[in-house]
Symmetry: C2
Subunit: 397 residues, 2 copies
């Protein structure tokens, strides 16, 4: 072989390597916006489906997220990264553009959701075991703060973890009946404020979309507790006390979720615990205005951004049905059976599409919010939660 | 040269071409999320600055957008594309990831803003000359509909173009005192509904963030007109009639902007036209509750997503100042001079940062919403409007 030939072969080999690299680069995810992405939690396989909410189609699957049997998610402000809170204490940062796990930490033994700070720098997780919250840097998942929920009875399970304006997190202590505020506005060493007398066993909570009110549902008594975060001093106020009127409680098949409580017109609507009712509450006074009898024990009662209609799903064994309630009249305008085990309902940020997971049909359905026509389906393994990246821009989700 | 050598050279040349292509591909913009992007309108140079709102730094500049002396923007649902409405009738689609113009049409002689439909498929522009609106496909900017604002007096200037749920656009006819609804819910041939008796010369309008109310400001009389889009039939209702109480009107140096009217707690706050006052209006009854005396003629009165504080800028010659008003008490909590010609104020979607353009200092400043500390500056040529991509997920912006 001549020297020239040899040189050419080396050049060719080098170029081939470059091209191989270039081809690999071409297989990298395409340049795209992230504002219309979403994820579907596949609860039994510990995986996520990433989907395009405009084209209503699956993009990819990410596996290896552990126990997702009661999982939820928040998103970074750029809407590129999802932070997944698993039931097993796993906190996973997923890159939605490369469909890969960026970081993953096992931060507790048993967890129940989390929140991201308004500036996008801190992610917090509420833990049952050991009870308390932990706070992490969103860039690295390095631990920033560990806040044990210690009270006179030991360590309490924590629930109802929500973000509030000014780098604050609020959460409640199931065993202690307290709500704590962890304020990171001065840096990464939080100032802790403890509110006692929140009531018997707060089981979930919400922050209103303006960040003003923290509302905790109570498992141990008929009623809820609200804190107006604009007032000083902060004073828990019981609302809807005795909404069950001493009637025999039904067994609770599934705890309703409060985070999705909807502002519908001038009223909040919320699922009554253990009752086949929605409660309508004046958004200023927090007094009950009326009730709507529904098909079963409501789990989610979700309004779109227009607050016009409220979509409701139900606890087992009536969990094959959705009812849509008109928020002006409180009447039921539509009822149908999407399929077995309707677990979650998510509105598009401007409300035109509604995403519904039907676990035992292994499908997520997309409905027109106004005509109720089914527009599309995405196959998924035992889908539960559906989360659109648009949540990144909202408080209290 | 042997045949083998020749073949190798051809292979080498082919590979070299591939590598060159691959290198060009590497110079493409990096993979990134789009939820934290924003644009600054550079009004005198017909250009945009694209910036990263998390890192608070400029990414790139896009030129060639024509007359941007009164420009505004909306965004596609994926937050990748901006649609820029120029004063000269130019409608430009800009790719924020590649910093390039994708499409550009001169669709009228003189325009005044636009809107994007809730499903992201239609973009509409309000035109002074010839009066009416035009509607385009967001993918291609192909014309979908041309709706001349014809009334008994000829063709009216159109203003106050807003989106509403269900693929609808609302706009007002300056000369005719009418508001029209173009409903594209059944397809791309709109159903037009005309509301007469809106008042003397509507000059701007807003849709509330829930899409329920369309509110038009009136230039020709003291008052505004509201339409409740949830009621049938649609009935314009005059509010704040005679808020000037027959006092001598000040000359109006700059028309206030209504699109940014803020829901602050239970009240809307709005800039009084030609007066050194903010008007507070009950968000349910639309009755005036109180007023705040401010430094000059307000132009923008903008609340963050928490509605806690309202930031106000002023018309010439008092346009070097910002006042911040507490929405609970109506009192002024902060006042300072960012510099000459403060033109626009934009809150981060979760409210922690506030972006302020200071035209004659050629700078955009970023403030902490709670401490008022200046966090960063971005240089820009005569900056006016600042628009964050998070607007993609909200109605009426």
């Amino acid at each position: 072989m001549t020297a020239l030939l040899k040189s050419l072969l080396i050049i060719a080999a080098t170029l081939m390597a470059s091209v191989t690299h270039a081809v690999a680069a071409d297989q990298q995810p395409v340049l795209r916006g992230t504002g219309n992405l979403g994820i579907i939690v596949e609860r039994t396989t510990g995986s996520l489906v990433i989907f395009d909410a405009t084209e209503r189609r699956m993009i990819s699957r990410v596996e290896g997220l552990g126990d997702l049997s009661h999982a939820s998610a928040v998103f970074s402000p750029d809407e590129r990264y999802a932070f997944i809170f698993g039931r097993d204490g796993g906190l996973t940062k997923v890159d939605l553009l490369t469909s890969s796990i960026v970081h993953r930490v096992m931060q507790a033994g048993n967890s129940i959701g989390g929140a991201i700070s308004d500036d996008g720098t801190l992610v917090a997780v509420a833990n049952y075991e050991p009870g308390g919250i932990k706070v992490f840097d969103t860039a690295t998942l390095a631990e920033v703060a560990d806040i044990p929920a210690t009270w006179t009875g030991g360590r309490s399970k924590t629930i109802g973890l929500e973000d509030a304006p000014g780098r604050r997190f609020l959460f409640s202590l199931w065993d202690a009946g307290e709500t704590w505020i962890a304020d990171f506005s001065k840096g990464n060493t939080p100032q802790i404020t403890k509110l006692t007398g929140m009531g018997d066993r707060p089981y979930d909570a919400l922050v209103t979309s303006d960040g003003r009110y923290y509302v905790a549902g109570l498992f141990g008594e008929d009623g809820l507790t609200v804190v107006d975060l604009w007032q000083s001093p902060l004073t828990p106020r019981r609302i809807l006390r005795g909404y069950g009127n001493g009637e025999t409680k039904l067994p609770v098949y599934k705890m309703p979720h409060l985070e999705s409580w909807a502002l519908a017109g001038n009223r909040f609507v919320l699922p009554a615990i253990g009752r086949h009712e929605l409660l309508w509450v004046d958004a200023r006074t927090f007094e009950e205005t009326n009730r709507t009898a529904v098909y079963g024990q409501p789990v989610f009662a979700v309004a779109g951004p227009d607050g016009r209609n409220v979509w409701v799903n139900f606890a087992h064994p009536l969990n094959d049905t959705i009812q849509v309630v008109d928020s002006l009249t409180g009447s039921i305008v539509k009822q149908w059976k999407p399929g077995p085990a309707v677990l979650h309902i998510e509105f598009a940020p401007r409300g035109h599409d509604v995403w519904v997971s039907v676990r035992d049909a292994n499908v997520v359905q997309v409905y027109d919010a106004y005509t109720f026509e089914k527009k599309a389906e995405i196959a998924a393994n035992s889908p539960s939660g559906i989360f659109l990246t648009a949540r990144a821009h909202r408080m209290g989700l």
